[in-house]
Symmetry: none
Subunit: 238 residues, 2 copies
C-alpha cells in the first residue's frame, strides 16, 4: 500500500450514478474515474490500471459479466458488480465469473463505500508471496499442507479458519490488526458490532499454539484496538 489515493474505476451507463459515486467517493479520499461503457473502460484502464473496479451489469455493448470475464483474464483487481434486480442468479453468476462482491440497486453510497473499503483492505492484506514454510516462535507452518509443525517435527492439521487467521498474522507480524481487518481478510466480510467471531477465532488459534491462559505470549490482545502477533517470522527451508 502506498500513501497515494486508491484508484477506483466506476463503469455505469447511468450518468446520475456516475456523478453520485464520483462525488461521494472522491470526497472520502479515493481517486475516481468513470466510464459509461466497456470501450471507455478499456481505454481508461489502458492509460492507467485501477485498484478496484465498480461494474454495472446492464451496459450498452458488452455487459458487465462479459467485461468482468475479460478483466479476469489478465488481472486480479477487486471487482464489485452492481445489478438492477436483486435476483439471486445474477449474484451467483457474478461471483462465479470472478467478481469479488456484489451490490443490488438501489444502494446507498455509504453502503458501497463500506464494501469498497473492505475489499481494498482484503486486497492490501492478502498474502502476496507464498513460501512453503514459515518459521515463528518454536513453530513451523506448512502453507501448502495447512499443517502446523512443532519443534519435534510433530505436525497437526489446521482448520480453514485457523489457517487463514494464522497466515494473516504471519504476513503482518508485530503489527496491530483490528477486528474489522481480520474479519475482512479471513472471512471476506466486515464484522458487525457486538460480534465476537474474531475473538473466538483468536481464542481457538491460541489453543492450537498452546498460547492461551492469562498470559498469551504469541498473540497479544491490544485492548480497544485488536490483536498482534508478537514474534519474529522467517521463511523456512524447502
Amino acid at each position: 500500500m502506498t500513501d497515494n489515493k486508491a484508484s477506483i474505476l466506476v463503469v455505469d451507463d447511468d450518468a446520475a450514478i456516475r456523478e453520485l459515486l464520483e462525488e461521494h467517493l472522491s470526497r472520502v479520499g479515493y481517486d475516481i474515474r468513470t466510464a459509461e461503457d466497456g470501450d471507455r473502460m478499456r481505454a481508461l484502464l489502458n492509460e492507467r490500471p485501477a485498484d478496484l473496479i465498480v461494474l454495472d451489469v446492464m451496459l450498452p455493448g458488452d455487459d458487465g459479466f462479459t467485461l468482468c470475464r475479460q478483466i479476469r483474464e489478465h488481472s486480479q483487481v477487486p471487482i464489485i458488480m452492481l445489478t438492477a434486480s436483486s435476483d439471486e442468479t445474477d449474484r451467483v453468476v457474478g461471483l462465479e465469473i470472478g467478481a469479488d462482491d456484489y451490490l443490488a440497486k438501489p444502494f446507498s453510497a455509504r453502503e458501497l463505500q463500506a464494501r469498497v473499503k473492505a475489499l481494498l483492505r482484503r486486497a492490501r492484506f492478502a498474502r502476496a508471496e507464498n513460501p512453503r514454510f514459515i518459521l515463528f516462535d518454536r513453530w513451523r507452518l506448512d502453507t501448502l499442507a495447512h499443517e502446523l509443525i512443532d519443534e519435534h517435527g510433530h505436525s497437526t492439521a489446521l482448520s480453514g479458519a485457523d489457517f487463514a487467521l494464522l497466515q494473516l498474522f504471519l504476513s503482518h507480524p508485530n503489527q496491530v490488526l483490528d477486528r474489522d481487518t481480520i474479519s475482512d481478510v479471513t472471512r471476506g466480510r466486515e464484522s458487525m458490532p457486538l460480534d465476537r467471531v474474531v475473538d473466538v477465532a483468536v481464542s481457538r488459534l491460541r489453543q492450537r499454539l498452546g498460547d492461551q491462559g492469562r498470559n498469551p505470549r504469541l498473540i497479544k490482545t491490544v485492548r480497544g484496538a485488536g490483536y498482534l502477533l508478537a514474534a519474529t517470522v522467517s521463511h523456512g527451508p524447502e
Copy 2:
C-alpha cells in the same frame, strides 16, 4: 525540539480563520505561518519545515486529504485536520490517511490551542528507537512481548496502560514528567484538572515493579511537578 518557539503552519482558505489563529496562537508563544491553499503551503514548507500543521479539509485546488497524504509521503510532522461538517466519515478518513487529530468547525481557538499543545508534547516524547530489550534496575523489559522479566528470568505480562507508562519512563529516565505529558503520551489526550488517572496508573505500575510503600526507589514523586524514573537504563542483549 529546541527551546525556540514551535513552528506551526495553518492552511485554510478562510482569511478570517487564518487571522484568528495567527493572532491567538502567536500570543501564546508559537511561531505561526499561514497559507491559503496547497501551493502556498508547499512553498512555505520548502522554505522551512514546520513542527505542526493545521489543515483545513475544504480548500481550493488540492483538498486537505490530498495534502495530508502528500505530506505523509515524506514527513511525520503532526497534523490536525479541520472540517466544516461534524461528519464521522471525514474524521475516520482523516485519521486513516495519517492525520493525528481532528477538529470540527466551529471550534474555539482555545480548543485548538489545547490540541496543539498536546500533539507537540506527544511528538516530543514519542519513542523513536525501539530495541527489543531494555534493562533497568534489576528488571528487563521485553518491548515486543510486553513482558517484564525479573532477575531470575521469570516474566509477567504487562497491561497496556502499565506498558505504555513504563516505556515512557524508560525513554526519559531521570527526568521529571508532568502529569499532562504522561497523559498525552500514554493515552493520547490531556488530563482534566482533578483527574487522578495518572496517579493511579503510577501506583499500579509501582506495584508491578515492587516499588510501592513510603519510599519508592524507582519511580519517584516530585511534589507539585510529576514523576521521574530514577534508574540507569540500557539496551539489553537480543
